[in-house]
Symmetry: C3
Subunit: 480 residues, 3 copies
């Protein structure tokens, strides 16, 4: 009989997973659990088997690309939203069916190597490739599932990116495992330490791999019409550099030089608006352009660091900048959006919940005391959140953030392209929307108290520290 | 070895659930399984672990709010469609970001309590809050997931509401458990008897709870800028009244007084049409209005009781009124729709199935004999359906309803905002659409018989009792 | 302890299914596993428990309807896309709420049997029924979930159809089992051999069945107002003919006679365009038409055999014709699309993957060597694909096809109405879109080699056999 009993807990564990229930009674801060090393950088991965991440249909990762590093071209089954924590670089995406619109003239390259040896095919032009974009600190970068991208660090310091990997994106028709397909190198060989990339279902250990390795040498030779030594290089079986390789000479990539300063993005958006309005003006002109104009020139990047862009701003408390599919249309395809927040010392973000999304908070700088309450009214999180930590706030769960003494800066990814937030205090809050008499009777309080609840906080979302803060909560900061 | 055998049935049960297969070989009528009592009313819940409900991604509930009762403000993760079975009341929703458009002047309230004690902030106005709607018998009320609502019984009799709780709504990104967040009171304490609210996965017992209880007193004080006695009232830990509380004095809530009679809804719709047409006239004027005009003024209620509104009407048999997203646009967001039906004595609803939804039938009055057939041609239900009972008709399953001697009145909730019904007999039926020669050969019958099948029933959906009814089926009624 | 160990593998199997993980490490060609016989034909079914099919949310089937055979009217919970492999026939669909627009005059039928015996109801017209369409070799036919259809072989040879049954279609709200509802006959009795239709969950054996058998004789009599002998015929309990019955006399079905040749489809599309443009011209005229004009006259069929229609054509290699929701709008409802391909001897389809769909390849003629690579870079399939075999290519997995010595002809069903393909070689490929310097550094190759990779293959998707083919791969063909 004891043997039977041994089976029970195992089966009970099974049961929990089967019902795909999210208990979420005890959330905790998440830190990277593995690191994949490569020649010119490394990738840190958060444990995808964490219940909070699984329930949010997401994974979390952080790439550090060192000076002159090149993150090899790859595509994956998941929508990805990246945030550039530090540095600057180049980001290239190859969209299916889009033309090579960036073209250099031959003089940029040495000699005439460009002339093909095949007879009849003479090429005097330089290189041609698809659009390349500059990225820099504060940029949100959208990554479409199934499209290949590469990243190059062209700055002086490390290029650091964090990203949410959203396997629940509706484009993904297979299971919830992250499937990453590299188009070059030999990623699993190059990594040191925990070099295997485990997937959500803890038994299955998928590995990063070069997809060309799945093909016959001869079939590849025929496909590319190249000799066997080159097809072997494509498969990269002897490559030891991992998934981030070092660029030996400076990368010559054609791309428009952008001016420093805040002006360039505005100009880009301006151009986009012009395209949009010219489309509206005459539908006939749209037809002549084909679909290239819309898909192939889609904006994939937007800076959310600029204080000028803040959506909520309180000079005594801080600011919040949001990015959704209204400001970056591709997000409607990814079903993701983002928020950048800065809180000054002791300031508070109003108790609030997202009606239609989860949120993954990543701490950029400083720390905060955070409390989260669930549907039973239970406290599911009450703790300090610090740099490089991730916290998942489940849909409809209420969260309060209070900055520590150095302030608090974060980026939050939300699993909806138009995340809707409901505040429970302050102007435009739910409490404000309720009639006084409903408050009086709901809480069993006086009319005067009801008015205090409704009107004492006149601020919106970002609250300045109150006199109470000085008295009450300073103790907590001291305690932590 | 016997021990091993003991595990098998357990694991087999597991297996069935794992595949999330819906066997549905044996449907039965469903009655409430639990009741949550409160000071001024109670809530009855149907067992969410019932296979038919689980397969329909739905739960079912019935609220009885007594005279002067107030259902406390709450929001949930599920779309809800309510039907007012009896009584009249007020219904308030607070939508995120919508302004407080209902405003009273001070003279309505006693004295000058409204003037805040905080210096510099003088308020001479009365109360301001979001839109409040009157509800009454026959109303369908849409409840958006994640928005808070409250209900007050301002009539003389009990206010009775039934509702489908649709956890499969695409807004819900978490599991299929119902998660209800109260903003006041102490719901779990106030209930007597089965006061716990079990969720779908039978092990997990979620409880109704006040979400503010998950936060620290001091953080709440700071958030609302109130004193500790008031923040404790907000958390309601000493509250013993449950989720429906009694209003001691009459509720003073600003809302337009509506005239009696059928006219008011037409006028409301008229106004909506005007808004719509003015929008169409000039898109520039729309932009000036912002999104408030569309979202914040969205119609959430529609009466489906008025016989004049019937979509199908047969003076000898009865009528059916449907409500879908064409008539109440918010339903497209909930992915739900409704149907109200009245059948006279012995009348029959044609054999029919919903192509794109399940249906949950709730009996308002009378009774009916109902038969349901599944995909193997098996009979999955054959029985009598009575007042306050619920029956789930799965998608594509064919159902016939025949009213008993007192007639039959029901409301059906469908899990699609535009449920499409296919009839198998009568005018506009599938049989009518088939060529005679296909019928002749399919059933191996004469051309004359094929014409009888196609044309004998000229009625549409609601069939009057035939002479056969007198002979054949009266026996059944006697037998039951 | 040994007993405990016995449970483990079982539970492990469970676990795998629970996580609904798709391992797909070892794909193989699929052949029909069962056959359901009937009087005038048979249906072959592929095993729905095959992991590759389950992961693609699909099942696969092949109908052979013999001369004068009639596939009985039925509807199902799944979207279906059929391809007519051989023969010609009639295809009838009855859409809910659509009028009977095909009408014959009485003189077509013998005598005056058409006049009903019921008093007062005289019918001098002939038959009236919904639209009937001709189908023939090379046609793709869309089948909407929940709508009844029938098929009649009016040609001289067998009518052969293959179809993908897509249970993951978003219209289906129940489980992933195929649920087929016949409206006539007694399908399970008529079949010989493996006459039961097993569903995805291997325990549950659903059977084909006549849905009317689930109802009481008397209720059916009342519903149709017919006598008991006719209602028994409708239930077909004594029917022994199965689901495909023989038509004894020629079927008299009103439908426009279509001329031979390629012209008729173009004309039909022309009419559709006219309807569309008249709609655009004035929105007032649209309102007068009601919804019938759009839904009831929706095009459900399109021929993809005509070489003239090829989307990709290479006179030295072959052609590919695609059909998506831009060319056949109903596909957006089914979330399916199709591709017809013809490869000449030794020609190659470029390595490619579908970004947003799976693909089910069915071989019509000839054979091919096929390789598929997965996300680890592993080879998940490397083999020969022959007539009447099915191969599933999972989303994002890369496939190369090389025709054998007799060439290769296939139809592929894709689980997206607008499947997007990414090529990894040739013009417009991902490799072409990458900057030379990225290739140089990714593969560790010279600039000249990078140019070879980008430019040696100037062809698009369909590649002619290269000189390498003669040397390298002929060996394989010999080996097989």
């Amino acid at each position: 009989m004891e043997r039977f009993v041994q089976v029970i807990p195992f089966v009970t564990t099974l049961w929990k997973i089967i019902r795909s229930e999210c208990r979420l009674e005890n959330l905790h801060v998440l830190e990277p659990s593995r690191r994949i090393e490569a020649e010119a950088g490394y990738t840190e991965l958060w444990d995808e088997n964490e219940e909070a991440l699984t329930c949010a249909g997401s994974a979390f990762t952080r790439h550090v690309i060192r000076r002159n590093g090149l993150f090899l071209p790859s595509y994956s089954n998941s929508a990805e939203l990246m945030y550039v924590v530090q540095g600057r670089g180049l980001y290239g995406v190859t969209m299916p069916g889009c033309p090579e619109t960036y073209q250099s003239d031959e003089s940029q390259f040495r000699g005439r190597q460009g002339t093909s040896e095949r007879e009849g095919v003479k090429r005097f032009f330089g290189d041609r490739h698809q659009k390349v974009r500059e990225i820099r600190e504060g940029d949100i970068v959208a990554q479409i599932p199934g499209t290949a991208f590469w990243i190059h660090n062209k700055g002086q310091s490390d290029l650091v990116l964090i990203s949410i990997i959203y396997t629940s994106n509706e484009q993904n028709q297979l299971d919830q495992n992250i499937r990453k397909f590299f188009l070059a190198g030999n990623p699993q060989e190059g990594s040191q330490g925990g070099r295997r990339h485990r997937t959500r279902g803890s038994q299955q250990e998928t590995k990063y791999g070069n997809v060309f390795q799945g093909f016959d040498d001869e079939l590849l030779q025929e496909t590319f019409e190249v000799e066997s030594d080159l097809s072997r290089k494509v498969k990269g079986e002897d490559d030891r550099r991992g998934h981030i390789v070092e660029v030996r000479e400076e990368l010559h990539i054609v791309h428009p030089m952008i001016e420093e300063g805040e002006g360039w993005e505005e100009r880009e958006r301006e151009r986009e608006r012009e395209r949009g309005s010219s489309r509206r003006r005459g539908s006939s002109s749209q037809r002549q352009n084909g679909a290239e104009e819309t898909l192939c020139t889609m904006r994939l990047r937007e800076n959310i660091d600029n204080p000028e862009r803040a959506d909520y701003y309180n000079p005594r408390a801080g600011r919040i900048t949001t990015l959704n599919s209204f400001s970056l249309p591709i997000l409607s395809f990814l079903q993701l959006s983002a928020e950048k927040g800065v809180l000054y010392k002791d300031a508070v973000v109003a108790p609030s919940y997202y009606m239609n999304s989860h949120a993954l908070i990543y701490v950029l700088r400083g720390n905060a005391r955070v409390q989260i309450a669930g549907d039973n009214g239970q406290s599911v999180f009450d703790g300090k959140l610090q740099e490089n930590q991730v916290l998942v706030v489940p849909q409809n769960f209420v969260v309060i953030k209070k900055a520590g003494s150095e302030g608090f800066e974060w980026v939050a990814f939300r699993t909806s392209d138009n995340a809707m937030k409901n505040n429970l205090a302050g102007r435009l809050s739910v409490i404000r929307g309720l009639p006084e008499d409903v408050l009086v009777n709901s809480y069993g309080i006086s009319r005067d108290d009801a008015r205090k609840l409704k009107y004492n906080r006149e601020e919106l979302t970002v609250f300045s520290p109150s006199s109470r803060s000085a008295r009450g909560l300073r103790r907590d900061d001291a305690a932590n």
